[in-house]
Each structure stands twice: as structure tokens, then as C-alpha cells.
Amino acid sequence: MRTIELKIPSETGYEKLAMTLAEQCARIMGFSDSRVEDVKTAVSEACINAVEHGNASDVTTKVFVTMTMDDDRLAIDVADEGRSGPPPTEVRTPDLEAQFAGFETPGGMGLFVIKALVDEADFVEPELGFGSQFRMVIHLEPKETPA
């Protein structure tokens, strides 16, 4: 097991540092190209949520990303400082009919996309002792032999 930790500013755009790091970890573990893309999108969306919701875009806050590389799974935890209350307890399916009809503002797709792309995705007890921590787990399929 190997652990990599990253701390980035609460500013959109910096999620790309977490994406690249997650990509490298996923490649080291031998994930397929398409699984690597899934990981990158999931990490990006989780970091943007941490910046915009969890940290309410407060520039004095940070986003904490921890990647745990195990033999058969990659866990990625994204933690924020909880500036906007507790995280949601359920994930809504985006209603594009309503959005296209103008009844709803376009958006609300992040958590739904993450849930669809990774094997496990849940808010967990924050190890920081405060804020929110979102954990994503991606399993290495037997066919994706580590390099």
C-alpha cells in the first residue's frame, strides 16, 4: 500500500493538479486508459465540489486529496473545510428535461457522474476532524494487469 497526499488551493482550475496526480497513480497501478479517464473526471468533480461547496470558494481554505494505492484498488479521498454545512446525504439524478425546458438551472451533475464512473463514492467521517470528506474507490479489474 502506498499513500500520496496533495493539498491544493480552493480555486477552480487547481483540480487539474489532482487529476494529473490521480492519473499517474492509476497508470502505475495498471488501470486501462478508459478507467484512467473515469478516475480523472471523478477526481476533478470531487475537487470542484470541495472548492465551490465545501470551502465556499474561500481562498484561505484548502482542499486535501489523499490517494491510497492498494494491490487491487485505488481509494481517493477529497476533504474540504466544511464552510457550507454538511454534505448531501443523497445524490439527485439531474433532470435535463426540466433544465432544457427552463424550469431548472443547468447543473447538479457532478455527484451523479462520479457515482456512475467509480465503484464506490460516499461522504465518510472526516479524518481532519472537521469539514467533509468524500471517498471514491476504483477497483482494478483482473484484466488490467499492473505494469
Binding site: 473515469d38 476533478s44 457522474v113
Partner: protein, 115 residues
Amino acid sequence: MSSAIHVQIRREPAAAVIELHGDVNSDGEAAVKGAYEQVTADGASTVLLDLSHTQYINTSGISVLITVAMTAKKAGNVILVAGASPHYKKVFDLVRFSSFVTMFDTEAEALASLG
């Protein structure tokens, strides 16, 4: 710090093409909307969004695309989307964006479909 979006506009016989370069995220809203408004003001009623030059689209970027597609639909214009990578095509399918706009693998296929 993102590699800011920039748009390139081209007039093809069958459609106005808006190429999206850089990152398609929430910061891109003004640029993409502005390009749509420009080409329709110039008379285009069919607009092709070419995503083949972008490597990064997030769900805020998809919201921008939805907003433009919605504006087009309201005005009776046609929006086509081309050039999304297999990964982003999968994401568009997941959120059902692809049920609301017509997707093509390449710009050439999109233009050919217009006859």
C-alpha cells in the same frame, strides 16, 4: 490557472462551426454564449460545436453547453455537437445530454448529415 477556453468561429456552407479550444468549464460561459450569439446574428441557423480541440470538459462546462443548446432550441435554431472523445461521449450519455442534442464523432460527419 486553467488553460482558459478560447473559441474559433468558421462558416461552412451547411453550418457555422464553433471550435472550443482549452478547458470547457464554468469560466467558458461568456465565450461560448458570445460565439453562439455572433454566428446567429450573422445569419446562421445551424450551429456546430466542435469539441475535438478540448481535452477537459467538466460538468460545469456541460451546463454551459446545455444553456447554449437550450437558447438555440428556443430560437428554433439547430445545435450539433461533434468531436467529443469516447470518454466524454460516455459522460454526455450518462447525464442524457446526448438525448437533447445530436452528437457526431467528427465535424465531417456532422456536416455531411446536413446534406
